[in-house]
Every structure is written in C-alpha cells, then in structure tokens.
C-alpha cells in the first residue's frame, strides 16, 4: 500500500482498528525508515497497541502511546508526545483513533494541522459482524459522528469483517456486498479488505486489494 505521511484509522469501537494499525505499521516500516504508531484511544481500557510493544520495538517502530495505557489509571490520558504526529514531518505515522465519536474527540486537537498539511488518509474501518453497524444507515451515522467529533473527513473504507477466531473464508466473502454497498452509499473508496494470514491462500484472487494480517496476541 502507498502510505501518506499520516494514516488514521477510525470507526465503530470493536471494528478492529488496533490490529490493523499494528499490521500497517509493520508493513510501512519496510518501506520507510522513520515509522511511528500512535495510540489516541481514550476509551478502551484493555487490548491496546501496547500489547504488541515487543514486536513493534523489535521492528524499530516508534511508539506514540500514553504512559498510562495498560496501567490501572482509569483516565482518558493521551500520549505526551502526540504532537510529534503533526510537527515531526520526517515521521510517517499510523494513528489508531479511539472508537466512535467519543474516541475521535481527541483527534480534534490535531486535525486542523493534519488538514492544512494535506498529506493524510483517514480510513473508516467496518466489520459487517458488529451488531450495531450491520446496516448502512448505522454506518452513515457512525461516520458522521466521527467526522463531527474528529473534525476531519474520511478518505476511504477498510473492510475488516471478521468473527475473530471463528472467521472462515466464507465469513469474509459474505461481507463483500456489504462493503461494496458502503463504498457506494458513503461515497468513499473501498481501499482494502483485511484477511487473516491463515485464510489468505483460500481467498487469493477472489477479493480485490487484500491486506494480510497477523492478529495481536491475547492473554487467553
């Protein structure tokens, strides 16, 4: 994929932004030396970018994360170095924006600078199997709420339809029509469809613009 200087991932919470962000950062790092991943999530208490710290460190990816992520501090804390995303123009950053409009609120502080620089992509991550965004009208609602809170327009859609460990090739194929309808009704290009690595061979050639993903490790 051809990455802009800033790539933002946003969407309904639980749509899978963090997993995609980690995988994108690892891919981007192969193309570009100074790659960073930023976690702007102020909503989720568990399952954060930091869970993949070891892998990200080993790859030499710079971390822009709150020092309180994965601790017991239950406060909406942002990374102290979050302005590096907009000020350090030698960085290319994948930004994991928090879920829904509440999560996107933190983005509002950076969006005027991102908008001015005009070198960003913001992708709406969708998952057909999330019950509150199964119809296009709900998706439109989420999109509007995020754009209002984050003060930045989306530039594309990533289809991340999955059932976690229960995902099969059929699971992904059954989401294609939904993703196409989203593309048409929301007027945003469908940029990628994520595929868990183990399913890639079965789906090769069947779906356009596939993005193979490794899933983050979970404690149980």
């Amino acid at each position: 994929m051809n990455y802009k200087r800033i790539t933002l991932l946003s969407g309904h919470y639980g749509s899978g932004k963090t997993n995609i962000a980690v995988n994108m950062a690892l891919e981007l790092k192969k193309q570009y030396e100074r790659t960073a991943i930023a976690d702007l999530d102020i909503v989720n208490p568990y399952f954060r970018t930091l869970d993949s710290k070891k892998e990200l460190d080993e790859a030499g990816i710079e971390l822009i994360v709150s020092q309180y992520a994965n601790t017991n501090l239950d406060a909406p804390a942002l990374p102290q170095n979050m302005y590096a995303i907009v000020h350090d123009k030698t960085l290319k950053t994948i930004v994991d924006v928090g879920g829904d409009d509440r999560g996107a609120l933190a983005l509002g502080r950076l969006s005027p600078m991102i908008w001015e620089e005009k070198n960003y992509d913001m992708f709406l991550v969708i998952n057909y199997y999330r019950p509150l965004t199964r119809d296009i009208a709900s998706l439109q609602e989420v999109r509007a709420e995020i754009e209002m809170a984050g003060r930045l327009p989306f530039t594309g859609i990533i289809n991340n339809s999955n059932l976690a460990s229960g995902t099969t090739a059929e699971t992904v194929l059954a989401s294609v029509d939904y993703a196409k309808e989203a593309e048409e009704k929301l007027g945003l290009p469908l940029v990628l469809t994520t595929i868990e690595e183990r399913l890639y061979p079965q789906l090769e050639g069947k779906i356009e613009n596939m993005f193979p993903m490794k899933l983050q490790k979970r404690p149980v």
């Binding site: 568990y46 017991n72 199997y129 999330r130 019950p131 199964r134 059932l163 229960g166």
Partner: protein, 354 residues
Amino acid sequence: MADKVLMKGNEAIAEAAIQAGCRHYFGYPITPQTEIAAYMAKRMPKIGGTFLQAESEIAAINMVYGVSAAGKRVMTSSSSPGISLKSEGLSYLAGADLPALVVNCQRGGPGLGGIQPSQSDYFQATRGGGHGDYHMIVLAPSSVQEMAQLTIKGFELADEYRMTSMILADGTIGQMMEPVSFDFEIKEQIEKPWATTGTKMARKHNIVNSLYLNPEQLEVTNIERYKRYDIIKEKEAIAEEYLVDDADIIVAAFGIAARVSKNAVNQARAEGIKVGLIRPITLWPFPEKAFRKAAEHAKQIICVELSMGQMIEDVRLSTECKVPVSLCYRVGGMIPTPDQVYQAIVEAAKKGEK
C-alpha cells in the same frame, strides 16, 4: 439475529437482556463494564425501553427495586467498587423478595484497586454481599456466548425464585470479543401476582417491603426464604465436568480462570497426567455434588483463581476436606498463564507419586 455476530462480552450481556424482555436499565459507568451501559443507551430508546444513567450506583440499584416491584424485568451493572455501593440495595431486594439481574464485571481490589480483571468478589457474591441472611443466584460465564446465555437464564431464575441473579464476570470476559449466536429459546415471562401494579379495586393491595414490625413474623419470613434456597440448591446447581471420570488430579476453576485451566489440562493430558477440570457455572448454589463425586477418586484438587483463594473454601467444604486442596493464583489484575497452571499440575502429579 440468527447468524453469528462479533461482540464484546459486555455487549452480549446487554443484547441478551433486551432479548429476554428487559426494557429497564439503570446504571452508573465504571471500567471495565461501561459497554453494557453504552449499548443500552444506544438501543433502549429505539425499542421503547428506558436507559437511565443514575447519579450514583446507590440510586441505580434503588431504581431497580422500584421497577422490579412493578413487576418488570430490570437490571443494573457495575464493577467491583460499584457493587459494594449497591450492596445495601441488594439486601433490600432480597428482603422484599424482588427479582432482578445484576452484573458484576470484576476488577482488582480491594478499595479502588485497579481496572484489570479479577475474581476477588467471590465471597461478596456468594455470601450475599449486603447485610442479613440472604443469597443471590450467582452465575459465572467463561465465554462471550455464555455471557448472553446466562443473562437470559439469570432473568428466568430471578423471576421463578423471586431473587437477584448476579452475573459474576470479570474484566477480560467483559472486554474480549468472540462470535456469538443469539438463537436462544426464550421462555415466556411468568405472571407476577405479587407486583404492585394497581388493584383496579378488584383485589387486596400488594405490599413490597423489607421492614417487619413484628420479630416473630420476620423470623418466619427468613425461615421460609431459606426453604426456597434449599430447593434452589437441590435443583439449580450446574458445573461443566471435563475429563473428570478417571482423574487423579482435579483442577477447579470458574470464568476466565477455567479457560486458562482447560488449556493446561489438555497439555498435561498429552503428557499422560490424569487430570480433569470442574468448572462451576453456578457459584451459588455451589455444585457440591460434582466435587463430592470427584473426591471419591481424585487424590488432589488444585483451585485456580484470580484471588487470594476464595472459591477454595467452597471446594474444601463440599469435599469435606477428604482431599488436599491447593491454590494456584494471580491477583491485582493479573491472569495466571496456562503454563503456570500446567506447572501446578505437574507438581501435584509428582507429589502423588511419592
């Protein structure tokens, strides 16, 4: 919603409650269960239900009391410190014999503790929590699918026995995402002739109350209530038994600890160690029979908990200390790894050889 969807455990509880006919939710946000309230806030207004963020946990549980007295299915949810605040209300619900569903998505304690998962409210849940002689039905899910399933069961049991059902989950099961299917058979709600719905001048008025002016009457009420508890103990205790029949070593664990333990049991079985797992699904009533039966052939029991050892007391009581019971634990928001449990099993197996 016949096909599978991907949900957080907390969301699965909320959706299952709606499908069980619950149209009244009262709560106050606290990590790691806030998704229940968030889901209700989105869904309830669309289906003619009530979502209300109360000014405190205490207010929320008393709103539950009110709706329950009016005969409607109602719930609240919180996490450990919030449940402590609700404890007075839980006691009043018990004293007035009112059905309700309460979720405790546990986090580390005591005090403000932390926001990471824990199982250290076992005593609080199974011994009642508030003041007075009473129990709640306590259900312990170990997957997102079970979060949904036990929520529906919880409402049904609460109505049947006129008491509170508590879903005793933990932060991890609340936050983790798994596929869920909602093709449940949901029983029709039973009549509640005791509810305060207005006499329409056709019957004597109903009273919902936990104050008894006369001590003799209060004594009788308590004794009658415990007769009901005896029926529940006899009929409603459930446990999952996994590879127990020939086991020399039994691992006892519920909820998230049982998931970790099952991996360890499989690993040890592959090494030829005769080990099985008993996973209590109801924590009250405790599945005593499953443990009593296993104690006839097992030589050791390992209790795996995210606490300093709470369920272990019920394991010892139900086996009447015939078998030595040891503890394998993590606390403070930490989760035992499958390897930690596996090592405990190996240790026990070595001890058994001596």
